[in-house]
Amino acid sequence: MNMEQKSIISSEIDENLALEVLKQIPTPVMVVAHDFKIIFMNQAGCAFLGKTFDEIKGSYCYSIFNSRHCQTPECRMKKVMEGGEVSTARNEVKINDKTLYIEYTVAPLKDDNGNIIGGLEYIIDITDRVRQEQKLREQSRIIMEISTPAIKLWDRIVVLPVVGVVDSMRAQQIMDTMLKQIALNSSKVIILDIQGVAAVDTAVANHLIKIAKATKLMGCRCIISGISPAVAQTLVQLGIDLGEINTNSTLEDALSDAFALLKFEVVKKQ
């Protein structure tokens, strides 16, 4: 350990050193006066804005950042200056016509008498994180959409093949899709094909019963098809009563049932 480092540790940090530390912090730090004029911005802050400190000094912070919160009651700086607590918020800023996402934390600056004379703000650039989140959300939406297709099979007959795992969120989504389809096509029969559902337990069965009830309330008939022997066994062993819901083992049978309900007849050409 050399002499200089020793002196930093042993003696109190003097003002110059403190300022230097503040300047070197790798995330933007800004101090504004009571009138929102910028009185300090560290190096990272200047780099973030793409300007030198001399250009920024004395400008109003809202004219520099153009954020969503600027000059609205949402501005955390304003809240802090009015005596609020230290707080962190997400925000969207516009710098050089580029939209960046930030997370900023604001603390009040007080004089010796405890009067608030300004505010200290440090900013974390979370643009990449927000972009990732948006991408993730978009992807999960797409996955949701492709996982519950509704196929119009015939005039007023719609088929909904369900593949994978049915949890309560998925069941809700299936129900939403079905009910929307019924309203859209004024479907009379909707076939829920559960051949691709890995396992049917009490929860899944309850979801299916709920879905069937909802379709009935809309004035549509629901046929559940694709019930495998194993599923039939489990449902009976679990003591689940599917009530009035029509069930079939294959989609083919369900379709012919649907035709019967709609009084259609399939006739072979002579």
Binding site: M175, K180, M218, G219
Partner: protein
């Protein structure tokens, strides 16, 4: 809301012995009880045997107002008429399922055309044999 403005919101039409009752988008208990009275009075004066309640405009329905609608249906059946609900919105249907309401004995249809078909079907089975309850639309 004043009596007059509630009155103006109830518009029951009769077509071939079938009452068509459109329900307003804003459903609250005063309105439903007024609607109830109007339907029953109209039923008595026109001797209609079929009632079609169109709920397609209703965007929100709580369990209480739904119960009132159900009671209305029961009253109508008590007067010897068949009743069918038409056009429940997807949002309303899924909310009612979440509220776990019981609607086993309600007749429902997607379109008014289907509603008429169901009413006709109900009439044929009730005139043919009173004990016959199973069929397509029960």
């Amino acid at each position: 809301m004043s009596e007059r403005s509630i009155l103006s919101m109830v518009n029951i039409q009769s077509i071939n012995g079938c009452l068509i009752v459109p329900v307003n988008s804003e459903v609250y208990d005063d309105y439903i009880s007024h609607l109830q009275k109007s339907i029953l009075q109209k039923l008595k004066s026109t001797h209609a045997k079929e009632v079609l309640i169109d709920v397609a405009a209703v965007k929100f329905l709580d369990s209480f107002t739904f119960e009132m609608l159900k009671e209305t249906a029961e009253m109508i059946s008590m007067l010897g008429a068949e009743v069918v609900f038409v056009g429940f919105q997807p949002g309303v249907a899924s909310a009612l399922i979440d509220l776990d309401v019981n609607f086993d004995d309600l007749l429902t249809a997607v379109t008014i055309e289907d509603g008429f078909e169901i009413l006709t079907y109900q009439k044929t089975i009730s005139t043919a044999d009173d004990d016959t309850t199973d069929g397509f639309y029960d």
